[in-house]
């Protein structure tokens, strides 16, 4: 899980705008891709709705592990929905999360970029591992770990590039602190990898038509 848990005001208005604009451009590309590609059929909408519901519900649940962490199911969104649908789902989840007080409104743009990294990386890894004919469980689980690892790197990059207002800490100290945080995050990524591995394996047995390949 990588989610920037900073309140509004931590980033300057300039950086909040930059991340928002980038996120809007990417979401526009996702929508364009969805319309130009296979199109949006009722099956895709239903799967997207279910992924949205599951991701939102899980995203808000703080687990009693390492002092408090949460899963976000972004790799599962990538594996089942693909990056285009996934981009729209993470935008909705982040907006609804901010609406109930989990994360700042200004952070939505940056968080969408971080979550889209996870969605795309997990999707790409899952697809790539498909060529090696390894089991679905290992394929999905490895895709989750790689996706969440890259998501944490994206999160660190966004914070280091933006800087945080009102702190005296140097970028090096911040990198050290954020690396420890990312390390802790990867603990819950292990749980998420095993859970997602089982979910995708089950879907493959019960409803193989729901998997994109």
């Amino acid at each position: 899980m990588a989610h920037i848990h900073l309140e509004d005001g931590a980033f300057t208005l300039q950086w909040i705008s930059v991340w928002w604009i980038l996120a809007i451009v990417l979401i526009s590309l996702c929508l364009y891709w969805m319309r130009k590609g296979k199109g949006i059929d009722s099956k895709t909408i239903t799967i997207a709705g279910m992924l949205n519901a599951a991701a939102f519900a899980i995203f808000q649940v703080n687990m009693p592990l390492f002092g408090g962490v949460h899963m976000n199911l972004t790799p599962l969104i990538g594996i089942l929905g693909g990056p285009a649908v996934g981009g729209v789902i993470v935008l909705i989840v982040n907006i609804l999360s901010a609406a109930i007080g989990h994360g700042g409104w200004g952070m939505i743009g940056a968080n969408v970029l971080v979550n889209m990294t996870e969605v795309s990386a997990a999707y790409g890894t899952y697809k790539w591992l498909g060529k090696t004919k390894v089991s679905t469980f290992a394929r999905a689980g490895s895709a989750v770990l790689i996706g969440l690892f890259l998501g944490n790197i994206a999160m660190i990059a966004v914070i280091l590039i933006s800087g945080v207002q009102g702190v005296t800490q140097s970028r090096i100290d911040m990198l050290y602190g954020l690396s420890l945080l990312a390390g802790v995050n990867m603990g819950v990524a292990v749980i998420e990898a095993i859970v997602t591995g089982y979910i995708v394996s089950y879907i493959e047995r019960a409803r193989p038509d729901m998997l994109r390949g």
Binding site: M50, V61, N62, S135, D173, L180, G183, V184, M186, A193
Partner: protein, 90 residues
Amino acid sequence: MFKINDKRGLMIFGVLILVFLTLSIAAYMTSGHMGIEERFNNAVGIHADSEEEGSSGIFGFNIEGNLVSYAIIVFAFIIICAVLYIRSKL
């Protein structure tokens, strides 16, 4: 039984799990026990006066943000998904 590729895939996955779990425990031991917001503030150097003590929840699991809004949104999602599922005949 497992095929060779399955075994190799599971082994790679197992190694990844071990590596990330070790890193995670090492990071936790170094940074100490703290909540998610506190861990973030500490990482970037924000000195919050005192973190609000949230409810202990059920078996330590609790909801971030407003619980009532969360319940309303999840309920709305369940209704929407049920309608979509019936209409799409998935």
